[in-house]
Amino acid sequence: MGKWTRRAFITTGVLAGGVLVIGVAIRPGNRSSRVAGLVAGENETLINIWLKLGADNRVTAIIPHAEMGQGVHTTLAMMLADELDADWSQVSMLEAPAHPEYANYAMARAYTLGDRQFPAWLLPTVDGFFLQATKMMSLQITGGSTSTWTTGQHAMRIAGAAAKAVLLQAAADSWGVAADELRAKDSHIHHDASGRRAPFAEFASHAAELKAPVTPRLKNPDQFTIMGTDVRKFDIPAKVDGSAVFGMDAKVRGMKYASVRAAPVFGTRVDSVDSESIQGMPGIRKVVNLGDAVAVIADSYWQASRALQQLPVQFTRSADDNRDQADIFRQFASDLDAATANGKEQTDLRKGDARAVLANAGRIVDAEYRVPYLAHATMEPMNCTAWVHDGLCELWLGTQNPLGFAAEVAKAIDFDSDKVLVHNQYLGGGFGRRAFSDYAIQAARLALESPYPVKLIWSREEDMRHDHYRQASISRFRAALDAEGKPTAWENQFTEKHDPVEAPYIPYGIDNQYIHFTESNTHVPWGFWRSVDHSLHAFFTESFIDELAVAAGKDPYLYRRDLLAEAGRFRDVLDLAAAKSDWERPLPENWGRGIAIHKSFGTIVAQVVEVEVLDGKAQARRVICAVDAGFAVHPDGIRAQMESGIAYGLTAALYGDISIRQGAVVQGNFNDYQMLRMNEAPAIQTYIINSGESLGGAGEPGTPAIAPALANAIFDATGYRIRELPVKLHDLRSKSNLETKDVA
């Protein structure tokens, strides 16, 4: 069902699961007029939707992803520039505007198809120049660590290679030589036979009239000149002199400031608000009752937030008002029991017959683990500046999903979605939080009632207490061990399953596995949190395998290694981490060493933690990290993301605890939601394997393994087994808590 428009070839199709996709092939020179207006400046030819070549020979990569510190702008531009054989010093980056033309097709594909192959029928429509689809799906999301492997592999590289092909052809035409006598290097076309050389830009307008190859040839890794090198990230200079503009920093003429307080118990509403009581306070413009929240708008943020603190607000009551964290865990436990008793277990993975093996096992080991809710606590609290004027709603903010936000805000304020313009700014941290549009909707609703632009800033407390939380969960295990201590059956039951589906799966060769779950809903809103379900399941599975090693009387590294005999890629990563950590080397007194390995978003990470436990307090001193992301496009970027993922996961493992009391979140700021700080930050050494497997992510895979590696190290140091996070709940001075239950 392909259809020509004036500028593009559009085709639609259906993917597995009945998902509709639209491919839009923007032909060379056939710029979409709407996109062209947004990105092409004077004297520039928009060669394709992903690449702009200026008359000054500067190449601009147009990237449909938000920069949250993961370096995606740089990494993706590297992929395009390398295939184009561009001069890296003349390459810059422009974030694609929030526009349906840029709907993140690659992301949609990853979410709908997982790791599976792209349907062959759609590939020819790519026509050299990659196109996006999924306008209707409003996807322009940065998340799931997919930027590099989806947009990069399937769009940026193809765009760069195709652009190079048409530039070579255009040069061949103009010089009257065969294209295969030419080569591209440093943003110039070279004809070695004649010694002729000219900048790309000279051929831009002719190239734009040529038809790009259907399948441009991509380089082999040994031909890479930019990929695999440590270029400097584009965004760094602006981030050292205060000039980088975050959502918080948006300046819109005449704007006023708003502070907001939502009903503390999720699901309750504003019952009454005594707006009169603060009317005399300086600078106050108005009080707005948003239904589930109250906002004060004032001339300055300080005035707004002070007035809000004094504003008497009554909230409605709810059945959740009496719920505490202990009630929630009790509910989880009884729902798990009930699911088993009633045969209502939801199967996640079944292999062999774990139950039968367990029933006849000589030796069974079991354990139950818990993790708490977690908040994202991005360094920049949620904020959004909104201005409703001339039938438009303009938003300035940081978002991981600009198009989705436009659609959701439009719906909330009853606008057409093309009347909502998102100006995406730098994100002061995303980690999944900035994929939820609640703060943008609030700002838009305040602006809708105001004759001036409104900058809404959530206080840190508001940010902490109205997040979308990583789920709390209970996970139970039983394993059967044979006479050598090798597991012959693995059963795992847990509460609440989200994404990705494989998060609880183990790489180990265990013939009989039964993994199942039970939904146990609470009133606490859920959200993507760095590495999503991997963040909890790696802790569960990699702690339990460690317990099995202990029960078997084996070294935890070698025990894993034996079970990875059929999983060579995992084994290589595990071996590297162990070797670089000098696994056998004796440690000082009160120190311990733990290992864990986990694959997420296509990337395998193994980490060894060395911990010192002093006065009952655990401190991670050193982390050795081995990572295989297929190929490290930007090695220093991967190292930075491993460091970041480790700090994020370590913070959660040591301290992270969002708890519910009387229906509401207790923690409010960094005094009670503690953060890892400089004096607690371990030294980190990262080692990269380029296995050549398909590209994996980097932003999230550093996080999952660190919690179990830490817990395993604490066990090694103290004999105390951490079965519930965070570590700070435990008194590590107490005697070993380990009772390996031999049930059989």
Binding site: M68, G69, Q70, G71, R232, K233, D235, I236, P237, A238, K239, V240, D241, G242, S243, V245, F246, M248, D249, K251, Y257, P282, S300, Y301, W302, Q303, A377, T378, M379, E380, P381, Y426, L427, G428, G429, G430, F431, I457, S459, R460, D636, A640, E643, S644, G645, I646, A647, Y648, T651, N669, F670, N671, M675, L676, R677, M678, N679, A681, A683, I684
Partner: protein, 162 residues
């Protein structure tokens, strides 16, 4: 009216004297490099210098700075006026990720090197542990401080010798 000297420039502000310096800088002076992170002196994102000493501008009322020298990240250096060695080291070591905490980190690091030109790891821990980085750039901050310290020592050495 309160008179403040910000990055060497004297300016008058018509604000409630209890307003934290942070909001006056950001909203009245238009200097948004200084960030809001917690509002309770727990994160360091709002760090500026008051007469050369690092302070938490989110909890310091503007009246406390009347007639005194405030320095913000914008006053430390930029590409046009020349980068401070700490900023140069931050680029060399590729320190920032999201970047939101980095103005505060740099202000704390500049103040540290001002009073202690050759800080040990323990000195760095003491001076920098008030500044949270949610992106976990701590190892690079530590390295950046050492690189900057070495560069500044070399500069001083060069000046003495020359």
């Amino acid at each position: 009216m309160i008179t403040l000297t910000i990055n060497g420039k004297s300016q008058e502000f018509d604000v409630d004297p209890a307003t934290p310096i942070l909001w006056v800088l950001r909203e009245q002076a238009g200097l948004t490099g200084t960030k809001y992170g917690c509002g309770i002196a727990m994160c360091g994102a709002c760090t500026v210098h008051l007469n050369g000493m690092p302070i938490r501008s989110c909890v310091t009322p503007v009246q406390a700075a009347a007639g005194q020298e405030i320095t913000t990240i914008e006053g430390i250096g930029n590409a046009a006026t020349g980068l401070h060695p700490v900023q140069q080291a931050w680029i060399a070591e590729q320190v920032p990720q999201c970047g939101y905490c980095q103005s505060g980190q740099i202000m704390a690091a500049v103040a540290l090197l001002h009073t202690n030109p050759a800080p040990t790891d323990a000195d760095i821990d003491t001076a920098m542990s008030g500044n949270i980085c949610r992106c976990g750039t701590y190892p690079r901050i530590r390295k950046g401080i050492k690189v900057a310290a070495a560069a500044m020592a070399a500069q001083r050495g060069g000046a003495n010798n020359g």
